[in-house]
Point group: C2
Chain length 145, copies 2
């Protein structure tokens, strides 16, 4: 498996080990991870730090040029907030672990010119299936339902 998707899955598992929602993300610039993160709803009481947002936050302030040469890896299809952040910063490519447990705004991203690749990773699917079945109320809260 791609080492960057492996790193995103490691973040998801780290989140799970903290009692959190198992979604992870890394941002890669020119072959190097510049930000990594995972969903922090439970751990930090945060409604905004989805995995992708946490990776962006941990990358810190970057130039527009850097974002436009970056690839975002996420274990789960990005929701409207995270997709909006991808559009804000003009990140041109997103690699998605899976979109079978949740389908985010892939269509909007593609319509705005973002390359979206879904790798249908079995580990990503199982992490979410297990979490959703054990904590449906937390999952619904995370996606505003």
């Amino acid at each position: 498996m791609d080492k960057f998707m492996q790193a995103a899955i490691a973040e998801a598992k780290l989140g799970l080990s903290e009692g959190g929602i198992p979604i992870g993300s890394v941002i890669v610039h020119k072959g190097k991870i510049i930000g990594r993160g995972h969903n922090r709803r439970i751990q930090s009481g945060s409604p905004t730090l989805h995995g992708e947002m946490d990776a962006l936050e941990n990358a810190g302030r970057q130039s527009a040029a850097t974002y436009r040469e970056s690839v975002l890896y996420t274990t789960l299809s990005p929701c409207s907030m995270c997709s909006g952040a991808i559009l804000l910063y003009g990140i041109p490519k997103v690699i998605v672990g899976e979109n079978s447990t949740f389908l985010g705004e892939e269509e909007l991203l593609a319509a705005r010119g973002v390359e979206v690749e879904v790798v249908h990773n079995q580990q990503c699917i199982e992490l979410m299936q297990n979490f959703i079945s054990s904590s449906p109320e937390l999952w619904n809260e995370d996606i505003g339902e």
Copy 2:
């Protein structure tokens, strides 16, 4: 002026007084402010805490039902990230201070059924005009340009 837009402007001014980008936001549920915030790019080195995101973050974890009865006030037209957050949580109404210095994703919000009202507030316009003319590089960074 609407007291909630006044509160959003007070947040924008607070951000400016901290050396930050003067954009503020409040979230109102049943006539009560449940979250307030302002852009924290400079103060916290944050690429994700726009005013609206900071207000959402400070509101903390809320139920879907609460978001769906809330109104978000923001001094500036919401960018794609903040608009995505509004869509994620199903906030049905957004009051925008101004959209003449920056036009965000109002069209997308409206297409998804969000009521968007722009009040063309002169204080909001002046705060942004002054900031953009004095610190264009910070402003461009904030909108990924």
